[in-house]
Amino acid sequence: MAPGPLMDGTHFMVARRPASWGATALRWLLIGAAMLCIGGLLLLPLLAVFIEALSRGWTVFAVALADPDAQAAVRLTLTVAAIAVPANMLFGLAAAWSIAHYQFRGKSWLNALIDLPFAVSPVVAGLIYVLVYGSYGWFGGWLEAHGLRVIFAVPGLVLATMFVSMPFVARELIPLMQAQGSEEEAAARTLGAGGWQIFFRITLPKIRWALLYGVLLCNARSMGEFGAVSVVSGHLPGLTNTLPLQVDQVYNGGRSDAITSAFALASLLALLTLVTLLIKRLLEWRHGDALARSARQ
């Protein structure tokens, strides 16, 4: 610990020296324990994915990725994310605009409701859609009569994914836009700007990095979600398996190279994780003052 400014150098040396051996030892003991914890609990599982994926060489790896069901799973994951992410971006923008710019009753309830998908178990997130759209659900009979399927089909996957990834953009934008206030938008209004003009010319440039940050995390969750989509998927290979579901099915498939093939598919998701974390770090480093974390402090 640094000495107070009133201590002169001599006193500092005298007061400090006996403690410094203990302090240095404790410091490195704590750093060592932390690094052991991070290495063993976090780094090792990540490395295990890539090492297991390549444990039988590149051929098994390539064969696993070339499997038609695996490729269908990749396409489905991209499709689901291509619907869920823009949808939740729109929701996040709308929620942040209404919460940051207006006063209304029930605002804190609305704020809490937006957080709800983060607190709910992913399995419950899947279950609630089964209860609405499944064969025994509220709209199940009507859907069946009209030849429509939601549960055990792609629409159910999209709904469950939208639920679990809903708060990411809103959570990033709301604190930032609240901290930025409405003055610039109000000034543009008095100068005669229209609503969309204000949004695109004033608001969007102020929130673009935070928006990208939220979209990045929303996308990672959308592509990686497992529990919620597992409940509504029906696990039809080539049809309703997203990539994480395909990993699960291959892993439990019992083929001789099942584990290695599952890890090969999982390595694609781990790669997505690495790219996501890298861009996240870059955004925090280059544009940290334009993200919600700076508004919260």
Binding site: A23, A48, A95, A112, P117, V123, G195, P244, F263
Partner: protein, 274 residues
């Protein structure tokens, strides 16, 4: 405020409310309705069955224990990352987010590869008589994994904003290192530690993907509540029993969310007051 001057209230509010109603409120109402329609006898039969009771105990007991471990480990990690400068610090800091970003199924099979009896770490633990995979210890480990970043990321900004002044004051008054930690730092961090604990608890109790591979899903031993819900839906037919368990999990989530909001409000008041 700007209600009159700024346009877009109707549109933005309309989208927000319509979205939340269709995706959150309506499906949650369906769950509440289905669970309520089951009647007390079905509830009792579901909760009091030995298999479910055991899963409830493991899910909530395990999550509590995991959140406690996360709080201790998280305090250590946040302290080291904020207060010390050492090589690989930035890499270590970036890795904290891994359980947030790694798909749960991938985390699950990776942890199993490490801790299975013939796995990298499992092989080393076997001679010591410790088995992690397919035991309750495995469930606990997976829960600790998913909850850890919540505590670290909650603590970090608070530790950064505290600065050294308070501790320096205590130091000049002759407080020992342990006294400075126990009497000065810990009371200041209490609301934040509780917030991190509650976040980790909520996440661990509902976790599915990371747990099910390492746990082995042995009935009466390593089954968690989310797994029972999935099994009951997959078996087809009546969704009533699954709705009862789902409603229980939901009530727990709502209570946790309420607690977290309270703790966050307390935490920011506490920091402003000190």
């Amino acid at each position: 405020m700007a209600r009159k001057t700024l346009p877009g209230f109707g549109l933005s509010m309309g989208i927000t409310v319509a979205w939340l109603s269709a995706l959150v409120l309506l499906p949650l109402a369906a769950l509440a309705w289905k669970a309520a329609a089951q009647g007390p006898a079905a509830w009792a039969a579901q909760i009091l069955s030995r298999r479910t009771a055991h899963a409830l105990l493991l899910s909530f007991g395990g999550a509590t224990l995991a959140a406690l471990i996360d709080t201790l480990l998280g305090l250590l990690l946040a302290w080291v990352l904020v207060r010390y400068r050492f090589p690989t610090r930035r890499l270590c800091d970036a890795l904290i987010d891994l359980p947030f970003a790694l798909p749960t199924a991938v985390a699950g099979i990776a942890l199993t590869a490490l801790y299975a009896p013939n796995g990298w770490i499992g092989r080393l633990l076997k001679p010591l008589g410790v088995q992690v995979a397919y035991t309750q210890l495995g469930v606990l480990l997976a829960m600790v994994f998913v909850g850890l970043p919540f505590v670290v990321r909650t603590l970090q900004p608070v530790l950064e904003s505290l600065g050294h002044e308070v501790e320096e004051a205590a130091y000049t008054l002759g407080a020992s290192r342990w006294q400075r930690f126990r009497r000065v730092l810990l009371p200041l961090l209490t609301p934040t530690l509780l917030t991190g604990f509650a976040l980790a608890l909520a996440r661990a109790a509902g976790e599915y993907g990371s747990v099910i591979y390492l746990s082995g899903n042995l009935p009466m031993r390593t089954e968690i509540v989310p797994l029972l819900i999935v099994q009951q839906i997959d078996s087809g037919g009546d969704t009533g029993p699954a709705a009862v368990l789902g409603a229980l999990m939901l009530v727990f989530s709502l209570l946790a969310l309420l607690l977290i909001h309270r703790l966050q409000a307390w935490s920011s008041r506490w920091r402003q007051a000190h």
